[in-house]
C-alpha cells in the first residue's frame, strides 16, 4: 500500500482533532482532540520515515509520545483543579476574562 495514504490519514486525523477542540465543550474531550492532533503528527512522522526509508521519523515519534504524556499530566491537573473549584469542566463556563 502506498505509504502516502497514511499521510493523508494523518491529515484527516489532525482535522478531526482540531474540530474536537473547536466544537466540544467538555474540557476532557477537547483535550483528547489535542492528543489526537499530536498523534496525527506522529503518524505522519512515521509514514514519512517509511517513505524516506530511514529511522529518524520513528525515533521522533517516541520523543513526541513522552512529551504528550507529560502534557496529559499537567493538563489533567489543571482540569481537575478547575473542576474542584467550579464543579464543571465546561470550557464555555469560565469566561470572566474577556474583552
Amino acid at each position: 500500500m502506498n505509504p502516502m495514504n497514511y499521510v493523508i490519514l494523518a491529515a484527516i486525523l489532525f482535522s478531526i482533532g482540531a474540530a474536537a477542540v473547536l466544537l466540544r465543550r467538555n474540557a476532557i474531550v477537547a483535550f483528547m482532540g489535542v492528543e489526537l492532533m499530536l498523534n496525527a503528527a506522529n503518524l505522519a512522522l512515521v509514514a514519512f520515515s517509511r517513505i524516506h526509508g530511514e529511522l529518524d521519523g520513528q525515533i521522533m515519534a517516541f520523543f513526541v509520545m513522552v512529551v504528550a504524556a507529560a502534557e496529559v499530566v499537567v493538563g489533567l491537573a489543571i482540569i481537575i483543579a478547575v473542576f474542584r473549584a467550579r464543579q464543571t469542566i465546561s470550557l464555555d463556563e469560565p469566561a470572566e476574562l474577556k474583552g
Binding site: F31, A81, R84, A85, R86, G99
Partner: protein, 524 residues
C-alpha cells in the same frame, strides 16, 4: 543495523544543565525539607545560586568563544554567541522574576496549596497551618532551563521538546494565584488548551517539513530547500505551521488570544516572567528558523510576516486603548510589541540579529518592572489587611503623590514601552526599525511608527492619571501601597537598567553586534 553512539559535548550545555539540575534538586528539597519557612529559604537560595552560576558559565563561554560556536550532538543544538546572548537575557529575566516569586507582599503571590478549591475549608486550614507553596521555584527553573534550551536547539523535533519543557511549568504557574483564584484557574485552562493546540500545529508542521525535506535539522533544511526543484506545497504548509507555533508564543495576532487572558489571570509575578521571557525565547527560536531554515523561502514567507506584524501592531494598540484593567492593558501592549518584533524580521539578518536581543531585553526589563509595580498597588481588604492588586486604572489616580518613586518608575517603564528617547525602549525600537528599513520594509516601518504614536497615548494616559489626577474623595483609604523589599529591589534595578540602556546603549549594542552571526554548520 549498527548505531554509533553520539558524542555529546556536555560542557557546552553546562548552563542549561545547571538550571535544570537545580530544578530537579528543588523537587527533592520539596520532598525532604519539612518546615515551610526553611523550605522557602532553601528553594530561593538554590534557585538564585543556580541562575547566577549559569550566568557565570555563560560569561566564561562567551569569553572563550571566538566568533564561532559549538555544535552539540550532531547538529541538534548550536551554542554560538547568539544563543549565549539570548540565554544570558533569559537568565537575567529569571533572576529578577525569582525575586518577585519570593516576595511576600500581601501574603505572597501564590496560593498556599494549589490542590485546594478556592474558598474551601481545606484552603482555610492550609492558610491557618501557615503552608506556603514552594513548588514554584523548581517549576520556574524548569521553565528557564527549557527556554534556554529553546534558544540553542537547531533540530525541529528537539525544539518541540524544549517548547514543552518550558510551557508545561508555565501552565501550572499561571494556575497558582493566591487571590482571584477563579480567574487564575480560568487563565491556566485557556492557556493550556490553546498552548497544546498550538504545539500540535507546530508538530504537524514539523512532520510536513520532514516529509518534504527528509531532515529536521534547521541548518540542513535550508540546504535541502535550495535543492528542491520547485515550491512544494507540503513544505510551505509545514513552514507556515511551524512559524505559527512560534508566533503563538510571541503573542502575535491572530494567534494572540491567550495573551490578555493569561496575563490578567496569572499571579502578577508569573505574568512578569511570562511576558518577558516567553517572548524572548520564542523570538530567539524564530530567529534561527526564519534566518536559517526557511531563509530560501523568504519571499513566500515575507507576506506572512508583514500581515501578522501589521495586524498585531494595529490590533494590540487599538484594543489597549479601551482597556480598564492595567494588566490587560499591558498584555495588549505586549501584543502590539509582538508586531514591532516581527517588523525587525522583515529586515536584513545582520541588523535584525543585533536589534532583536536588544529589543527583547529592553521590553522584558520594562515588563518585569511594570508588573512588579502592579504587584505593589493593592486594594485594602475589608478586615483592614492587604488584599488583591488594584488593577482598575481608576484606582491608580493620584499614585504619584502617594508614592513618587513607585509612580516614577512606572512612568519610566511606560515611556520605555512607548519608545520615548532616553529610555531603552527607544533604542530598541530605533534598532528594530532601522533593521527593517535596511531591508527595504519602509512601509512596514511607517505603520509601526504610526502605531507607536497611537500607543503612546494610552501609556501617557496612565502617567497623567498617576501624576496629574487627584484620587477621588475617600479613595485613598481603599488602596494600600505595599513596600516589599524584594519587589522594590526588582523595580529599582529594572528602572535603572531601562534608563542606563537608554542613555548608554552602546556597550550592550556592541555585545549584541558581536553576537549577530548565526553559526550555520551542517552536522553529520
Amino acid at each position: 543495523m549498527s548505531f554509533t553512539t553520539p558524542t555529546i559535548d556536555w560542557a557546552a550545555f553546562a548552563p542549561i544543565i545547571i538550571v535544570l539540575g537545580a530544578g530537579a534538586a528543588g523537587i527533592l528539597v520539596e520532598a525532604f525539607v519539612k518546615t515551610p519557612a526553611t523550605r522557602r529559604t532553601v528553594q530561593l537560595a538554590l534557585s538564585l545560586a543556580a541562575l547566577v552560576a549559569s550566568l557565570g558559565v555563560i560569561i566564561a563561554q562567551w569569553a572563550a568563544l571566538d566568533g564561532a560556536g559549538t555544535v552539540v550532538m550532531s547538529g541538534m543544538a548550536t551554542v554560538d554567541r547568539q544563543a549565549l546572548a539570548w540565554m544570558a537575557i533569559l537568565l537575567v529575566f529569571g533572576l529578577l522574576s525569582m525575586l518577585l516569586f519570593a516576595s511576600r507582599d500581601g501574603g505572597g503571590a501564590f496560593t498556599e496549596l494549589g490542590a485546594t478549591a478556592p474558598g474551601s475549608v481545606e484552603e482555610k486550614l492550609a492558610r491557618r497551618a501557615g503552608l506556603q507553596l514552594t513548588e514554584v521555584y523548581p517549576l520556574a527553573l524548569f521553565a528557564v532551563g527549557g527556554m534556554m534550551l529553546f534558544t540553542c536547539v537547531t533540530d525541529l523535533v528537539f525544539l518541540f521538546v524544549a517548547l514543552e519543557v518550558f510551557s508545561l511549568p508555565l501552565y501550572l504557574l499561571v494556575a497558582l494565584a493566591r487571590r482571584r483564584r477563579y480567574l487564575s484557574h480560568e487563565a491556566a485552562l485557556k492557556y493550556f488548551i490553546l498552548g497544546a493546540f498550538s504545539s500540535a500545529i507546530y508538530l504537524f508542521g514539523v512532520a510536513l517539513v520532514y516529509g518534504a525535506t527528509t531532515v529536521t535539522d534547521v541548518n540542513m533544511i535550508g540546504t535541502a530547500i535550495v535543492n528542491l526543484a520547485d515550491a512544494d506545497p507540503l513544505l510551505l504548509a509545514g513552514a507556515v505551521m511551524i512559524i505559527v507555533g512560534f508566533m503563538f508564543k510571541i503573542g502575535a495576532v491572530p494567534f494572540h488570544s491567550w495573551v490578555p487572558d493569561a496575563y490578567q489571570g496569572a499571579p502578577t509575578a508569573v505574568t512578569a516572567f511570562m511576558g518577558a521571557a516567553t517572548k524572548a525565547a520564542a523570538t530567539a527560536a524564530l530567529v534561527r528558523v526564519m534566518f536559517v531554515a526557511f531563509a530560501p523561502l523568504e519571499w513566500e514567507l515575507s507576506w506572512l510576516v508583514w500581515a501578522v506584524a501589521i495586524a498585531s501592531m494595529v490590533y494590540g494598540t487599538v484594543v489597549a486603548l479601551v482597556q480598564t484593567d492595567i494588566k490587560r492593558m499591558l498584555a495588549y501592549s505586549g501584543v502590539a510589541h509582538a508586531g514591532f518584533i516581527l517588523v525587525a524580521f522583515a529586515g536584513l539578518e545582520g541588523e535584525a540579529l543585533t536589534a532583536l536581543p536588544f529589543y527583547l531585553l529592553a521590553y522584558g526589563l520594562a515588563t518585569i518592572g511594570a508588573f512588579a509595580v502592579v504587584s505593589q498597588v493593592r486594594e485594602r481588604a475589608e478586615d483592614g489587611g492587604v488584599g488583591a492588586e488594584a488593577v482598575r486604572l481608576g484606582q491608580w489616580a493620584g499614585l504619584g503623590k502617594r508614592s513618587p518613586l513607585l509612580a516614577g518608575s512606572m512612568a519610566l517603564f511606560l515611556l520605555s514601552f512607548a519608545g520615548i528617547p532616553m529610555t531603552a525602549g527607544f533604542i530598541g525600537k530605533f534598532e528594530a526599525f532601522s533593521a527593517a528599513i535596511a531591508g527595504g520594509a519602509w512601509p512596514l516601518v511607517l505603520i509601526a511608527v504610526l502605531a507607536s504614536a497611537v500607543a503612546a497615548f494610552f501609556y501617557v494616559r496612565l502617567i497623567v492619571l498617576m501624576f496629574f489626577t487627584d484620587a477621588p474623595e475617600g479613595a485613598e483609604e481603599t488602596i494600600a501601597i505595599e513596600d516589599g523589599a524584594l519587589t522594590r529591589v526588582v523595580i529599582y534595578v529594572t528602572a535603572a537598567a531601562v534608563l542606563v540602556l537608554g542613555i548608554l546603549p552602546s556597550g550592550v549594542l556592541n555585545l549584541f553586534a558581536d553576537a549577530s552571526v548565526l553559526l550555520v554548520s551542517v552536522g553529520g
